[in-house]
């Protein structure tokens, strides 16, 4: 159900771009207005999310430890990355996490065998697919810089040459394109085939996968099958980045679909799970040194609390308490006089 809905939304968005450009002739809207709006939403939303997280206090150390902490006993070996207690250790841990997805590498498959026996299995495919997916996405993202810089920096050309290493066909097959599609397809199939993963999958999970796949497929169609005039396209993109937007004639509708889906991805980014790009840096279970035993951590929200003691309380309500027949520690002054009489 969630899957069909997500697929419907992605196809509907693609169709909206086709109708908008082909039927309504809204080239300027899809080529200029929406990309600007999407980038603005992305930047503002991203900054907002990060600042929002940065304003949440993390008073105490809550790193997930997966190894022995620093110890004064020399014969116990501390685990520097799995239970870091220095800044350097944390930097190492974060670098391994961000660049190599180390915690995903620890992934195991749990299975209940006959006789109630629990077994753990080697499972690296998710890690491998995730790594392939993210790195090919990064390469593709960087390669697109050639549409946004004039002259194109040498490093982008070098990246493209490395990507077309096998020199298959013309325009040459870009390895990252195919790695991305294969890896994203694996991530999708995994989501559907494993019952537990399917059970926890929401439309939002399928939506980003389908959206990224649709972006990749439209991009590949533009390169390998229904080739488009990339010189006019660069004219459009350069117009955007130099704030002199133009929409040259004769750009294929496929490009507008691609651009619209990318705009959707950018605009949707801060509102979705995709902000893990920034969030990974702010994960308190990863980025805090495990030094609770060496450093005193004071709760930042410890401020003088307004209290109302029982004495003050009784002072305020003594008359009413006596009237209701409740016991009081200090009797009412008038009552003492009554008794004396």
């Amino acid at each position: 159900m969630g899957m069909k809905f997500a697929l419907g939304v992605v196809l509907g968005l693609a169709l909206a771009a086709i109708v908008g450009v082909k039927v309504l002739g809204l080239q300027y809207v899809f080529g200029v207005v929406i990309p600007y709006a999407a980038l603005g939403t992305f930047l503002i939303g991203f900054i907002y999310r990060i600042i929002d997280w940065a304003r949440s206090p993390v008073p105490f150390r809550i790193p997930t430890t997966a190894g022995q902490q620093y110890t004064s006993l020399t014969w116990i070996k501390p685990s520097k990355f799995d239970s870091p207690y220095t800044k350097l250790g944390v930097v190492g841990r974060m670098a391994l996490e961000i660049l190599l997805f180390r915690s995903l590498f620890r992934n195991t498959k749990m299975q209940l065998r006959e006789g109630g026996k629990l077994t753990y299995h080697w499972e690296k495919w998710l890690w491998l697919a995730a790594l392939a997916f993210h790195y090919s996405f990064l390469i593709i993202f960087l390669r697109h810089f050639r549409f946004f810089a004039d002259p194109v920096p040498g490093i982008i050309q070098w990246l493209e040459n490395a990507d077309t290493f096998f020199e298959m066909g013309l325009p040459g097959i870009l390895l990252s394109d195919f790695v991305l599609v294969v890896a994203a397809t694996y991530l999708f199939i995994r989501r559907v085939v494993i019952p537990q993963v399917k059970y926890v999958s929401l439309p939002a999970d399928y939506f980003v996968l389908f959206l990224i796949l649709a972006i990749a497929i439209t991009g590949m169609l533009m390169r390998y099958i229904w080739r488009v005039d990339i010189v006019s396209i660069k004219q459009l993109t350069m117009g955007l980045v130099t704030f002199h937007p133009t929409v040259p004639k004769g750009i294929s509708v496929l490009f507008f679909v691609h651009l619209f889906l990318v705009s959707i991805l950018f605009a949707y980014f801060p509102f979705s799970k995709l902000v893990h790009m920034g969030g990974i840096f702010l994960s308190p279970t990863r980025n805090l040194p495990n030094n609770s035993r060496m450093v005193l951590h004071v709760n930042p929200w410890d401020y003088p609390v307004k209290v109302h003691t029982y004495e003050e309380y009784e002072e305020e309500f003594r008359e009413k308490m006596v009237e209701a027949g409740l016991p009081v520690e200090k009797p009412l002054e008038g009552m003492e006089e009554d008794k004396a009489e």
């Binding site: 992305f42 930047l43 991203f46 900054i47 990060i50 600042i51 940065a54 304003r55 949440s56 206090p57 993390v58 810089f145 050639r146 549409f147 946004f148 810089a149 004039d150 002259p151 194109v152 982008i156 050309q157 493209e160 040459n161 020199e167 066909g169 013309l170 325009p171 080739r227 488009v228 005039d229 990339i230 010189v231 006019s232 660069k234 004219q235 350069m238 980045v241 130099t242 704030f243 002199h244 040259p248 004769g250 920034g278 840096f281 702010l282 930042p300």
Partner: protein
């Protein structure tokens, strides 16, 4: 409200935003002129019917496909001629067909290729034609 660990977070955020917005500040709003490939070589000017092996639209997007096909046909099947849709017969060769008319590589091929940051490997083996003056002295 207070931002915790403001220094590293804000520096990181600044780097990220700077990186994402790089195309904008890199050009400083300066218009970059689109390429203008020149078609005014002497060989083209003396042509009666100025037409290429395929339509202009097709050549703009897919000339590399034709070149790749020509190469495959010539190397694998010894087919060294190409008949266009209009019935004209051309040698299937970059140097003996394309560059005969488009002898101005620097003003024709390179304008677009440089604009989009491409360095096609044609010229790893093929030689661009020498410009007219050089040819005359030969």
């Amino acid at each position: 409200m207070k931002i915790y660990d403001a220094k590293p977070i804000l520096i990181g955020l600044l780097i990220f935003v700077g990186f994402v917005s790089m195309p904008f500040w890199l050009h400083g709003g300066k218009v970059s002129p689109p390429p203008d490939p020149k078609l005014d070589t002497p060989a083209i000017q003396i042509l009666e019917k100025k037409e290429c092996v395929a339509s202009k639209e097709y050549m703009r997007t897919s000339h590399m496909v034709i070149l790749n096909d020509w190469r495959t046909q010539a190397v694998r099947n010894s087919k060294r001629f190409y008949v266009t849709a209009g019935g004209a017969n051309y040698p299937a060769s970059l140097q003996r067909a394309c560059m005969k008319c488009h002898s101005n590589k620097a003003q024709f091929c390179d304008t677009c290729h440089n604009y989009i940051g491409l360095a096609p490997y044609c010229w790893d083996c093929h030689l661009p034609p020498k410009q007219e003056t050089a040819q005359a002295t030969k």
